[in-house]
């Protein structure tokens, strides 16, 4: 496979020609913030946190879905990008009801971590306080739509790692929601295998083990990548 060379943040980087900018940056030790990206499943470029600037192009590109090109010059950390990332995070917080202090993922939440890492000190938009509910009909797991950021990581692991195809997205825009099967209570789903991969994949407190109390949800994302590597590469090596 041919290699491409490019410049990321002034650093000469070499990457495989099918690599994404995110892959190339990660290999080179350059950290780009991500939320909907999840190792082991394909990327959808939904959250817009990994946006980068490419020299010569006016538009911004999502690093997780843009392939590297020879001679490409990428900037991952400019004032413009920092501003947009903070805006994106603020909009995510304003869209639903994220109350960190009483959340099962408090202290272990990717959204919360991104907010402080990216200098989000307050939310400049009016909170929309939508009325979303909790689906606690499954005997092991719960889904709190209030805390969902629609990253679709649960949908992708359900379809492409477990192969059950239980989780889906229904609706449009801000009214979009994660559903089970044909929008029925999770506990009534005939396809769900109760494997728990969706819960492992969730970056916030939206999917949780039932009975969890504040800050008790911890997830080991390496388990998902371990399963994928075992299946595709026949490697049974636990990831640190």
């Amino acid at each position: 496979m041919a290699a491409k060379t490019l410049i990321i943040d002034g650093k000469q980087v070499s990457a495989q020609d099918d690599a994404t900018i995110l892959d190339a940056a990660t290999d080179a030790g350059i950290k780009i913030p991500t939320l909907c990206h999840l190792g082991g499943v394909y990327d959808v470029g939904a959250c817009r946190l990994c946006l980068v600037e490419v020299a010569g192009a006016k538009k911004l590109f999502s690093a997780c879905t843009t392939r590297v090109a020879e001679g490409m010059e990428v900037h991952t950390d400019t004032e413009r990008l920092r501003k947009y990332r903070r805006m994106t995070l603020e909009l995510l917080f304003a869209e639903r009801n994220h109350v960190c202090s009483v959340c099962v993922s408090n202290g272990k939440c990717e959204l919360q971590t991104l907010a402080w890492q990216n200098g989000m000190e307050h939310v400049g938009y009016d909170y929309s306080f939508p009325r979303w509910g909790v689906d606690a009909t499954h005997h092991l797991f719960g889904l709190d739509h209030n805390r969902c950021v629609l990253c679709q990581r649960c949908v992708r692991v359900c379809w492409h790692i477990e192969g059950a195809g239980t989780k889906n997205v229904a609706g449009r825009g801000a009214r979009s929601a994660i559903i089970d099967d044909l929008k029925q209570p999770w506990g009534d789903s005939e396809t769900c295998t109760s494997c728990g991969k969706c819960v492992l994949a969730c970056p916030t407190g939206a999917l949780f083990n039932k009975g969890s109390t504040v800050g008790e949800m911890s997830r080991d994302l390496n388990k998902l990548e371990y399963i994928v590597n075992a299946r595709l590469k026949k490697q049974w090596i636990a990831l640190e």
Partner: protein, 474 residues
């Protein structure tokens, strides 16, 4: 012409409130009302949440007594799971509640109330507070602040943080107490005892020069309610409900807290966000009852630890049957600090505290659960109804300050009648009226499930509802 005096806001209590004093045509006090002017709506917005989240959510009702809500809520969760929690979990919860009682009572005495009877009713309001106390008697103020810190450190040793620990959960607790934590608590006990004994001495000395206050600050007949042990002993977390009257006679005993609705009614006043519970069998106003330290010492027969029992004996001699003056809430609070310290000392020797068996696991086995615990200010009920999947359908919280609502109104009226003549009310008189409220150490943030600091307003109202004078402070 009849008039109305309004004290708004009331200071050195937790929450927002005001007091209205009504004058008749002759300038005499005809009535007084205590209004709670804040609202938060926890009972409503918790609907739809999983019951397992409730201890941490309801702990956020208050920064002073989050532990009380945490424990009552966890108990309601235990009832929904229909489990008997591991014995070690119960002992650890009790230990945290004792830490809570010590820290909250220390706050009430040293920070909020003592400035009145140590610095004097007539001391300037700007210095009649804990800072004035620090200036006047730094050693005493320091020891009081450290006593509160001691209680907070017990909470931290168990729950990982002093305020809003999410430690008690339906089914038990999340962690035990290691030997290091025990040693830390044990080491500070002698100082805590010394401070509590000193505070008792100060109060009993102050009582000699405050005989009038003891007779006027909420001295009337009422019922008393509190949890008691099966043998009638002092309780703060387990046990069952007992009601006594002001002669000391037990009128209802060993009532399972889950049956509270059979005995308590709740009425709504137009002028306050605080609901008014009453003892159903006697209706209103005869069903007025008091809760909290005064009530707990009135309903119990003994405490079970030597120093506190000796003090309880002296306390009981201050009444005929029951001690009826709300001014003696302060005394009861100090006795409970000593009882709490002795119980903590005893609990630390229990090897169970280091047990790894701390949490029972179960799903929803009952669609209804009630948790009751003695908060520092009195009996606290959390009453939840859930659906099959454990989401809340309804929430009812009855908080200590709510139980005392009728008594606080009566206290304000009693003090106002004694001191107020016409609409020219000097500041020290206003302060005495406020102190009537402070005796109960009310937490209005909790009782309306609302938050904030406590400024005070008093309004003087004429017979036609016209506000003649309004004093605002804070």
């Amino acid at each position: 012409m009849a008039k109305r005096i309004v004290i708004d806001p009331v200071t050195r209590i937790e929450g927002h409130a005001k007091i209205s004093i009504f004058l008749d045509d002759a300038g005499q006090v005809s009535d007084a009302e205590f209004h709670v002017v804040e609202f938060r709506g926890f009972e409503k917005f918790c609907e739809g949440r999983p019951f397992s989240e409730m201890p941490a959510i309801t702990a956020r009702i208050c920064g002073i007594c989050p532990v009380s809500h945490l424990l009552a809520s966890a108990k309601a969760g235990d009832a929904i799971m229909a489990v008997a929690i591991p014995p070690a979990a119960d002992k650890l919860r009790r230990l945290m509640n004792l830490g809570q009682i010590v820290q909250s009572h220390a706050l009430s005495f040293f920070h909020l109330s003592a400035p009145d009877f140590i610095l004097g009713w007539d001391a300037p309001p700007a210095t009649r507070n804990v800072f004035g106390l620090i200036a006047a008697d730094p050693a005493l103020a320091r020891s009081g602040i450290r006593l509160r810190q001691f209680g907070q450190e017990i909470i931290e040793a168990l729950g990982g943080k002093k305020i809003h620990p999410a430690w008690a959960v339906p089914g038990g607790v999340r962690s035990g107490l290691d030997e290091e934590g025990r040693a830390r608590i044990r080491q500070r006990l002698p100082e805590a005892f010394a401070t509590a004994e000193a505070a008792l001495g100060i109060f009993l000395k102050a009582l000699e020069s405050h005989r009038e206050e003891a007779l006027i600050f909420g001295n009337f007949q009422s019922l008393f309610m509190g949890l008691v042990a099966p043998d009638g002993g002092w309780e703060h977390h387990g046990g069952r409900l007992r009601f006594t009257d002001s002669t000391g006679s037990v009128i209802a005993d060993q009532i399972e807290p889950a049956r509270y609705l059979e005995f308590l009614g709740e009425s709504v006043q137009e002028a306050s966000y605080l609901k008014t519970p009453y003892f159903k069998a006697l209706g209103l106003p005869g069903g007025m009852y008091r809760v909290g330290p005064l009530a707990r010492l009135n309903v119990c027969e003994h405490i079970g630890t030597p120093r506190a029992d000796a003090e309880l004996k002296a306390f009981k001699q201050m009444g005929r049957g029951a001690v009826t003056s709300s001014f003696l809430y302060h005394y009861a609070r100090l006795i409970e600090i000593i009882a709490g310290l002795e119980a903590i000392e005893r609990a630390l020797e229990d090897p169970d505290l280091g047990s790894g068996d701390l949490r029972a696991d179960a799903g929803v086995n009952s669609l209804h659960g009630v948790g009751a615990s003695e908060a520092p200010r009195g009996t606290l009920f959390h009453d939840y109804t859930v659906d099959r999947s454990g989401l809340l359908k309804s929430v009812n919280l009855i908080v200590a300050t709510g139980h005392n609502n009728l008594a606080m109104n009566r206290t304000v009226a009693q003090i106002a009648r004694h001191y107020v003549q016409g609409d020219n009310i000097p500041e020290p008189v206003l302060n005495r009226i406020e102190h009537g409220i402070r005796c109960y150490d009310p937490c209005l943030s909790c009782s309306t499930h609302a938050a904030g600091q406590m400024p005070l307003r008093i309004r003087l109202v004429g017979p036609r509802g016209n506000v003649l004078r309004e004093v605002v402070r804070g």
